[in-house]
């Protein structure tokens, strides 16, 4: 299943769904609409996706977890998340699915920093990525090049875990630590990232600082829950 979290993305979500369906014609596409105030829901349906509508705004983590829960209950083996703003290139979805099947790991991250991937990222995000790479290196026991990437695929084992326990606000980095806590494995594959197709980013300087503080605290709390280092 392809999972597309979307909030007020009426300008982009239709193209994203169409591109995903073109790349993976036989795969179910689920848009999780986080109680958008615009026509995201209708546009997604018209583009051919099924839509899971949140009754009120939950934020990215809550929205993605709802999709994971539904996918787990429906018995899907693999779920690949593609953002609804069009920053992820759906032509890379088969690459992620292939890596999930071939590597047998619990999570595959689409990375813009591996050779063959695209390097689009804003200045603030770029700084954050460098910072969190350094923080995560000793925690994960191996380097992660693109820790803030939301272009991820998970297998059924990780799906079961995330449907029970998933960071609610800024999930990408904390999810890696949750995985590590359970001694699950992840790999990165090169993926292209693009500027968003429509709308404007909600990230501001103040929000970036809050993001860093929030994620650092979340990582620290998850370390406290560690059940032992990966063997």
């Amino acid at each position: 299943m392809i999972l597309i979290p979307a909030y007020n993305e009426e300008g982009a979500v239709g193209s994203v769904v169409a591109e995903v369906r073109a790349a993976m014609p036989d795969v179910a596409v689920l848009v999780v609409d986080d109680c958008s105030e615009d026509a995201t829901c209708e546009v997604a349906r018209q583009a051919g996706a099924t839509v899971l509508s949140m009754p009120h705004h939950l934020g990215l983590g809550g929205c993605v977890q709802a999709g994971y829960r539904l996918a787990f209950e429906l018995g899907y083996d693999y779920v690949i998340r593609v953002d609804g703003d069009g920053q992820h290139d759906p032509r890379d979805v088969p690459k992620i699915l292939d890596a999930l099947e071939r590597e047998g790991c619990e999570m595959v991250i689409g990375s813009r920093f591996i050779e063959g991937g695209g390097e689009y990222s804003g200045f603030l995000r770029g700084l954050g990525i460098v910072f969190f790479r350094a923080i995560l290196r000793p925690i994960l026991g191996k380097p992660v090049l693109d820790p803030t990437s939301g272009f991820v695929g998970v297998n059924r084992t990780a799906l079961g875990l995330f449907s029970r326990s998933f960071p609610l606000e800024y999930p990408e980095i904390e999810a890696l630590v949750v995985l590590q806590r359970k001694r699950f494995r992840f790999v990165e594959v090169p993926c292209r990232m693009r500027p968003r197709l429509a709308g404007r980013t909600s990230i501001t300087a103040v929000k970036s600082l809050y993001y860093i503080a929030h994620v650092l605290l979340g990582v620290f709390v998850n370390i406290l829950k560690f059940e032992g280092r990966r063997k």
Binding site: M54, H56, A66
Partner: protein, 122 residues
């Protein structure tokens, strides 16, 4: 000292009155009103018992009894805030889980409806 004690006593009485009024109008549930009524009562008793006041100041190593009163008042309300943080966090988790469950159930009902309609048409 007398003035501060009186101010705190009045404040405590106002707080007790406000909380009891809110409970009566069902704006605050009884179990959560305890978090306010108990500290308010403690502050009221402390502001009226000078001996107790001096004993606590001595136990804290403070020669200034009004300062001791303020420190204890602050500590009590920090505990109250901590309790409410626990309650709010728990409510937020429950709320998120409920919202997700509602969305999934609606999705499944709609899917079932569509299947029934399709079966009826064929």
């Amino acid at each position: 000292m007398d003035r501060l004690s009186n101010v705190i006593a009045v404040f405590s009485l106002l707080l007790i009155g406000l909380v009891l009024g809110s409970v009566r109008r069902a704006h605050i549930r009884v179990e959560y009103s305890v978090s306010w009524l108990l500290p308010a009562l403690v502050l009221l008793v402390r502001s009226r018992c000078r001996g107790l006041e001096r004993q606590i100041a001595a136990a804290l190593g403070l020669s200034d009894t009004p300062l001791a009163l303020l420190i204890v008042a602050g500590a009590i309300f920090l505990v109250v805030l901590y309790r409410f943080s626990l309650i709010i966090s728990n409510l937020k988790d429950s709320n998120t889980a409920l919202a997700q469950r509602v969305a999934i159930l609606e999705f499944r009902i709609e899917s079932a409806d569509e299947k029934i309609k399709a079966a009826a048409r064929s």
